[in-house]
Subunit: 326 residues, 2 copies
């Protein structure tokens, strides 16, 4: 469908455009979880999530002046921002149920937010319609694209370049763009740290895929609070990397996603969106597995409606507020 540049490796211009990840060492949260925790937070990346790495790389490297993408929000926002910076046109197909801040942000960057009722028409079908209407546009996958994976590989490179030792790196899995990118960057740097995925139990296609040895898809978009992981399956390019480089994928309950979000607030002073809480949620899910180990949890993003966040914060008051601080 799309022409691919012959050398998709990260361009120097990309490294100038992105912000380095923010490494946080929250002592109280480490003590609470019983691990030696490092957080690599992409919440302070441009547009508030890791997606800007991928979006800027893609938008800067494709020759087309117009880009169309489906996105549950963060990729669309990142792509809209990247296209604004690169003076390209952008259409983002979003579920009508996306977080209001994410829709507003896409529009705020001058892109078209094309809202679709996913109960009536799939996002893929709507993208196909738009592609037919805009034959000169590049159709970008939020994850299944070599330029997306290369963009996200910059995070793996950064983690490798810290020189820190971790027993495992845990990253959220939706379409697999982030974890396949991290794997690419890490392994290219000769870093063999165990890489674990964390995905909502409600949409455990990646875990089932890893067990089956081939891509398994959810039948419908999972209704998890981790809205960045409401994907049907991982992408083919992502799977090629995940199946080789990811040791395991941990299925995180909705309760543990929400609890991880609260713990990050209370014991690490970190605002995260539910999807961003998945990796810490994985530690809550399997505490014995991680006990006493040095773990790097990747927090993928922080974009969440204030009202939604306030509800998540106050839903689980008992206990959390009684603990110490970061």
């Amino acid at each position: 469908m799309n022409a691919m540049p012959s050398n998709p490796a990260a361009a120097p211009a990309l490294l100038q455009a992105i912000l380095p990840t923010t490494l946080i060492h929250p002592r109280s949260l480490s003590e609470h979880l019983g691990v030696e925790l490092t957080i690599a937070s992409e919440t302070f990346q441009h547009t508030g999530s890791f997606k800007f790495r991928a979006a800027y790389n893609l938008a800067s490297q494709v020759p087309q002046d117009e880009i169309i993408a489906a996105s549950s929000g963060n990729f669309g926002q990142a792509l809209a921002c990247a296209c604004k910076l690169l003076k390209k046109r952008c259409i983002v197909v979003m579920p009508a149920t996306s977080a209001a801040v994410k829709i507003a942000a896409v529009r705020g960057h001058g892109a078209v937010a094309d809202l679709v009722d996913t109960r009536v028409k799939s996002r893929a079908a709507r993208v196909a319609e738009l592609a037919a209407e805009h034959p000169g546009a590049y159709i970008a996958s939020a994850y299944d694209d070599a330029l997306v994976i290369e963009g996200n590989a910059t995070l793996g490179s950064e983690l490798a370049a810290t020189g820190q030792h971790w027993d495992a790196i845990v990253a959220p899995v939706g379409g697999g763009g982030l974890i396949s990118g991290i794997a690419t960057g890490l392994r290219r740097a000769g870093n063999t740290t165990e890489l674990l995925g964390a995905e909502p139990a409600l949409g455990n296609d990646a875990a089932r895929s890893l067990r089956a040895g081939h891509i398994v898809a959810n039948e419908t978009e999972p209704e998890t609070i981790a809205d960045g992981a409401r994907t049907l399956s991982v992408g083919k390019r992502n799977w090629a990397i995940i199946s080789r480089e990811v040791a395991d994928i941990i299925e995180v309950s909705e309760q543990n996603i929400a609890q991880a979000l609260r713990l990050l607030f209370t014991l690490a002073n970190l605002k995260v969106e539910p999807t961003g809480a998945l990796a810490v949620g994985a530690i809550l899910e399997q505490p014995q597995r991680f006990a006493g180990r040095a773990i790097c949890c990747v927090v993928s993003g922080g974009n969440v409606d204030p009202l939604n966040y306030a509800q998540l914060l106050t839903a689980g008051q008992s206990g959390v507020a009684e603990k110490g601080k970061a």
Copy 2:
């Protein structure tokens, strides 16, 4: 009252004990405020605020094995943590109205949280009582102490060491420990950047002091939501530095403190406590003064009860959620 070490400069052990400040460049918040904004966030410092810099320096340098301090919360928490690490005993006199998370954190570090009803007895009076009961203890001021100022000077040194140019650095003012420390570190490094204070209009003693040319005190502890700035006046040692090095102190309304907290959440993905929002609140207070300038806002801490934070977040929904993201 206290023996002072002859060389109060920051020890190498202090630099090993503290975490470097977190520099954030939130593009959406910059655009919203019309400034080129850098945030120096101490929310990820040990114990969640800059106070750990001062507390660790003090606790490590005084010869006494027991330390008593009055604190509205963050200094107490930091001192309790520092004393735990240094195996010293610690009593923190706190207003009974302090944030629950702050009281719990002091106790979580093994210190005694001595709660006082400030309508009946001042914190100073209670500290004097405890000092009489514990004659071997060091009585630490949360701000008016050379070791506190030296500890906080590490932040000024860090800002100078970034090599970044700012037209002004804005920092919260309560007792003046932070801004006098920043001034000390900056000027020692030969950095002459304009330094501005931000204090609650409800407790504008520092601004009035600067206008009067001498220390002016509030008659009662100001009932501002910025609980870290509920001080009667700046300290004498702090004033000696502030009067010389701080160009102006901006008085921030309660509305702008809360709005700054919300903007930091929505447009910078940063969780801050109300006191931590003062510097950004100062920009809201005097937008013309800062328009188009490169400004570094120091965010002093992030410790806030989830329920309190949720209420502040949702109190001002209109408008904010419609803006773009970090």
